[in-house]
Symmetry: C2
Subunit: 118 residues, 2 copies
């Protein structure tokens, strides 16, 4: 199954669930970049509230997708990162520097609005 990407005004909203496999992650990466291209979205919120644990492959894909989206002109905000996920990301050397984060979807949208000078 593909990860749904919701478009709300100029933003794309995604909620990632725990049980994603490598294939789904790669598909998500492709889908998100295609959707940014198609919609001209300027911002993306990826919500990780439901993600309890993260493995190295998914973490890598996540880091990549943030950089790729940035290259395409869409700012990414990560929301709802849980303690175990934060620890895994840092342990794996994925620092996601310059990536804005927020507590939840609402805060993420506010942050995106600020980042984009709205």
């Amino acid at each position: 199954m593909r990860i749904p990407i919701l478009k709300l005004h100029k933003y794309l909203l995604i909620s990632i669930q725990t049980e994603i496999d490598d294939q789904t992650a790669i598909q998500f990466q492709e889908d998100l970049l295609a959707k940014i291209h198609k919609t001209g979205a300027t911002g993306v919120v990826i919500d990780l509230t439901s993600v309890d644990i993260i493995d190295s492959f998914i973490a890598k894909v996540l880091g990549d997708v943030v950089s790729m989206s940035d290259l395409m002109g869409a700012r990414v905000v990560l929301t709802g990162i849980q303690p175990a996920v934060a620890m895994t990301l840092i342990d794996l050397g994925i620092h996601l520097q310059n990536v804005p984060t927020a507590l939840d979807l609402e805060q993420g949208l506010v942050k995106l609005h600020q980042e984009l000078g709205g």
Copy 2:
């Protein structure tokens, strides 16, 4: 995989993808009702833009979930219903009367706001 349910302020947002099987649909029904209960959401937007075809079981679950959410006090708006899906729903006798519909997520949120007297 579970269908992600995003919470945005008092509303829940869901985007359904084509390839959902019966088990996923049932799980979604349970998840949505649990989330309405937990968050006290007053409105739900279910976006069907990515759904090309719908079978009788999924259509039935969809009709049920609208009625159940209503019973729990959350108004449901369906968005992005494609022609083939509309035809299937009516053919199956699922008229979804009194269920507000809209073109896309943005319009759905506006409709929800109107419905709830906002």
